[in-house]
Symmetry: C2
Subunit: 143 residues, 2 copies
């Protein structure tokens, strides 16, 4: 199983968000090569700014393991996480965060290094597909 495979799974979550007229971002959490948490952005349906894909996936993974620390887990998310989700990843002490497309405006990286020092970071996995989903959403919204 590769980053590419798990990003496809995160993209499948993002497609669910798109179908629900939510900003199309999806995430999965992987432990021992298995997906133990999934999430897609639901801020509109839940009317809750905290309901980002990453947050839902992290909570699901912690529930699955019965452990709030996800030190052997990798978070895959289609778009560079925001400050809130980077902060949640910090607390979870993730092994790695892997994202698809950059998010220059509200991605956390413009604020420096917010992840846990132990957390590896990989970006640009299936970036075009991840970004295309976002463009489809926003161009449909403008019409």
């Amino acid at each position: 199983m590769t980053d590419d495979y798990f990003m496809q799974q995160a993209l499948a979550e993002a497609e669910k968000a798109l179908a629900a007229a939510e900003i199309p971002i999806g995430a999965v959490v992987v432990f021992n090569n298995q997906i133990i948490g999934r999430g897609y952005n639901q801020t509109e349906r839940l009317r809750d700014v905290t309901a980002h894909a990453e947050m839902l996936a992290l909570t699901a993974a912690a529930n699955h393991l019965g452990n709030k620390y996800l030190a052997d887990c990798t978070l895959y998310v289609t778009i560079e996480p925001c400050v809130m989700c980077a902060g949640a990843s910090y607390w979870a002490q993730l092994k790695a965060v892997v994202f698809g497309a950059d998010e220059p405006k509200v991605g956390y990286r413009r604020h420096g290094q917010l992840l846990h020092p132990r957390t590896q970071l990989r970006g640009g996995v299936r970036a075009d597909e991840c970004a295309t989903l976002m463009r489809r959403f926003f161009s449909a919204k403008r019409r």
Copy 2:
């Protein structure tokens, strides 16, 4: 109603966390001089790093208003928020964040300005009481 009064209410939430053997941080969200969301840290009980006092209070307030934007709301929290909670406050576009005691180690301010530009910030409200609760928790834990 004053900052002092609402911080007492946040302290009452923090006392609930202390009684539950959680790191004693409490929060309330105020709209039109009324508390519309309460929360205390429940990361241990829920085994979920996202279950900070502020997150639970923001979600409760959004549920109450049926609106994820809390532009006319003030968040009171006993300890300076972390990066995750500052990020959630950014998305909620809060009118103000009022905290009790500084948190130099994991408070968001060491990473710069993470709140929404429209959000006012006030600190140091009942700081001694807020900090004392934390000290009581950690010194009991060490024993």
